[in-house]
């Protein structure tokens, strides 16, 4: 029962109000007691929509499947999708709308860390449970929030030594997106490289809208590293891979990445640009488990063969909805406090991404981590590491002892 809230009539009404426009003459959405109101807030348009679209698909799929199987606690889920249009202020506005007007029992969503931080305070204030599904820099410590994605320490602890061994090199040159995720990831890379006898000789940061990498490639050529570690993010950064190949560097220095593929870069670059890049996430659509193969079949049957490929964020959105449903069934209610307590029992869900288990102390999850090689637009999984704990967040956050904590810690990486 996916519902499109159509309020064009309201828009006309409000338009007539002109100056007196912010009106409380709002039509109450028909929140009848026999359904469970649930909200999903993502970017379906604007620059970030490449991340948002597969996530929205997966939330929709999970809800439809639950409803088809009789709903949660015998009630259907009434899901409303909000499109924040890649605009941070709309996240704040929709979070309040979902919590106070729609009276959602749970909110799924948020893509960039900034969008999560735009919603988190409002959802906490209005006592609405919140799931965040994208991989991020770690450190969120808030009893009302569950972070489903992988954090740098979870993937990089195994990934960094693997890459050094795989490419048989020690000198790493890191290129990172210049925001919190990139900065923190770069530190973890340096830490794990040093611990394994390697060295990060240089780290360069690029704001998300930089698309000219000419001078950088010249600098890399001067530095002669063994391995390039790319933490580049977003559409503009995609041109790095293209310019790298154009400069004839592809076969000279191998590349690994912690971010290649979050926005389905493997589909957007050509095989000669991406073949051989090594990546690590908590989910790949190339995972050959029966759960995943079956999930992909259902996904493409529902959204068509041309649907956006499933990313880690998308798979974790699917896990998030199912974990919440499981917790509600266990608690026997959708009341926030009871559901949180149920989740804190260390609930787990086995799905396309393998097994994810809620870690009660951090409200993050213990998950399976995979390493894969990109080849011809697909992932070949090379290695998997089961049940990696969120060690980075655990170092700063313990919600079992301090349930009133409410902040995002900046994790101090000791190198």
């Amino acid at each position: 029962m996916i519902k499109n809230v159509n309020r064009r009539t309201l828009l006309k009404l409000a338009g007539a109000g002109a100056a007196a426009s912010v009106g409380p003459f709002y039509l109450r959405s028909a929140g009848a007691a026999d359904t469970i109101p649930v909200a999903a807030i993502h970017d379906a348009s604007g620059g970030i929509d490449i991340y948002g679209r597969p996530m929205i698909n997966c939330v929709n799929l999970a809800v439809e499947e639950l409803n088809a199987a009789g709903g949660v606690l015998g009630k259907k889920i009434d899901l409303v999708n909000y499109d924040a249009q890649s605009n941070m202020q709309l996240y704040t506005q929709y979070a309040v709308e979902a919590a106070t007007k729609q009276k959602a029992d749970v909110v799924f969503g948020g893509i960039l860390s900034a969008s999560r931080e735009a919603m988190r305070p409002s959802l906490k204030r209005f006592k609405t449970l919140y799931f965040y599904s994208l991989l991020y820099e770690g450190g969120v410590c808030d009893r009302n929030t569950f972070c489903m994605g992988s954090t740098p320490a979870q993937t990089l602890e195994k990934f960094t030594p693997f890459v050094m061994k795989h490419f048989n090199g020690k000198k790493i040159y890191t290129l990172a997106a210049d925001y919190n995720y990139g900065q923190i990831t770069a530190k973890w890379i340096k830490k794990f490289a040093t611990e394994n006898g390697g060295d990060v000789i240089q780290t360069d940061f690029f704001p998300l809208d930089v698309s000219e990498f000419g001078t950088t490639i010249r600098k890399i050529q001067a530095a002669q590293p063994d391995i390039i570690m790319s933490v580049l993010v977003g559409a503009a950064h995609n041109s790095f891979y293209r310019q790298w190949v154009a400069s004839g560097m592809k076969d000279k220095i191998p590349m690994a990445s912690t971010t290649f593929g979050i926005g389905n870069e493997q589909v957007l670059t050509s095989p000669e640009e991406h073949n051989g890049i090594i990546v690590s996430y908590a989910y790949f659509d190339g995972i050959q488990t029966p759960e995943n193969l079956d999930f992909l079949k259902r996904y493409y049957a529902r959204f068509g063969e041309k649907a956006d490929a499933v990313t880690e964020g998308a798979a974790m959105s699917y896990h998030a909805v199912n974990l919440w449903a499981k917790a509600a069934e266990l608690a026997g209610t959708t009341e926030r406090e009871k559901v949180i307590e149920a989740l804190e029992t260390g609930l787990s869900f086995t799905g396309p991404a393998g097994k994810t288990t809620i870690d009660p102390a951090t409200h993050h999850d213990t998950l399976d981590v995979y390493i894969a090689e990109v080849r011809d637009g697909k992932y070949n999984v090379l290695e998997s590491y089961l049940q990696q704990p969120p060690a980075d967040t655990a170092a700063v956050c313990n919600l079992t002892e301090n349930p009133n904590e409410n902040k995002q810690f900046v994790i101090d990486v000791q190198i």
Binding site: A18, P24, V80, Y179, P207
Partner: protein
């Protein structure tokens, strides 16, 4: 006072009454949060309506002062703890920055499109700079600038003199509406003074005003700095309902403000604010049409673009002047023009 201006004040008073009494009484949180965001932008658009509509200064980078207001507030509040003082510092900083930039431009005799380029460039410089401050080295006192993510932990305003009692969202809402009202009345008052008349004179014919013995540079500097301060107030409000991030400075933000002025009506004060509220409501509604809709026919860029082009080409006067003209025709049976006329654009051909 003409009948029309009496009715105008009455309309503003009614709108204020509605926003300050009816809305809070209804207690709908969503309306109030939306109202706070809209009002903070409303203050910003008012500052452009003032300098573009009345002084003929088209600042393409008015958001620079909005962003500076927000950032200075966030940094000062994190460091000082006293948010009331920080808000004052922030508005002063925005005013001061506008004064510096104004001195740079007006004493360089920059005008028209060149002035637009310089203001836009300054805003983009701030955007680029703030965007690359995610590293640990970019920390002012205890406040990390945060780069692309901005400063999510921006402190909320507290009750003056009682730094431990944060204002509730309802109170921030009231404050934002009051600030919008106060800015509007300040502009209105200013334009009625001798100073305001000289400003309008400069817009109409700068050399004639100079020949009358006024040094137009000082007047432009004064009004430009004041507008910078007003935009700064908007920035502080925005920091209190969302949080500060480099997007406050970007091309889209700068562009939106100009669209609002055009839609509402250049050469009026209330018009652009109405334009701002309507366009923001439209954006908010677009996102709740449901998944799929926004990505197909209702692409926000497409809608904004069509609206802007249509207003420039067809509905050139903007909503408020058009409805006022319609009102006049209704009342007196003939159309009037004059006080609300759109200033004639000067071509900058370098003949």
């Amino acid at each position: 006072m003409t009948l029309r201006s009496i009715l105008g004040y009455l309309a503003v008073a009614l709108a204020a009454l509605y926003a300050l009494v009816v809305v809070p009484a209804a207690g709908d949180m969503t309306t109030m949060i939306n109202g706070t965001v809209y009002a903070s932008y409303g203050v910003l658009v008012l500052s452009l309506a003032l300098i573009w509509g009345y002084a003929g200064i088209l600042s393409f980078g008015q958001a620079a002062f909005f962003g500076i207001g927000g950032y200075v507030y966030a940094v000062a509040a994190l460091n000082l703890g006293d948010t009331t003082l920080s808000a004052f510092i922030a508005v002063l900083a925005a005013t001061g920055f506008a004064a510096l930039l104004g001195y740079f431009m007006f004493w360089g005799r920059l005008s028209d499109v060149y002035l637009g380029v310089v203001t836009l460039t300054v805003s983009l410089i701030l955007y680029r700079f703030m965007n690359q401050t995610a590293g640990d080295e970019w920390t002012i006192g205890v406040a990390p600038l945060g780069g692309f993510n901005g400063i999510p932990s921006t402190p909320i305003l507290t009750v003056p003199g009682d730094p431990d009692t944060m204002l509730e969202p309802e109170q921030i809402y009231m404050l934002a509406i009051l600030a919008l009202l106060a800015s509007y009345l300040l502009c209105k008052f200013l334009l009625a003074t001798r100073f305001g008349r000289i400003i309008v004179g400069i817009r109409e014919n700068e050399s004639r005003v100079e020949l009358l013995g006024y040094d137009s540079r000082y007047y432009k500097l004064a009004i430009f700095s004041l507008a910078g301060g007003i935009a700064g107030v908007g920035g502080v409000l925005f920091a209190n309902c969302v949080f500060v991030s480099p997007n406050m400075f970007n091309l889209q933000t700068n562009g939106q403000i100009i669209i609002w002025v055009i839609v509402g009506g250049l050469g009026t004060l209330a018009g652009p604010v109405i334009g701002c509220f309507l366009m923001l409501m439209l954006a908010t509604e677009l996102g709740t049409l449901g998944q799929g809709a926004a990505a197909s026919w209702a692409d926000p860029n497409l809608i904004m673009g069509v609206i802007l082009t249509a207003f420039v080409l067809v509905l050139r006067k903007g909503l408020l002047p058009m409805s006022l003209a319609a009102f006049d025709r209704m009342v007196s049976g003939r159309s009037r023009s004059g006080e609300l006329a759109v200033p004639v654009e000067k071509s900058v051909a370098a003949e």
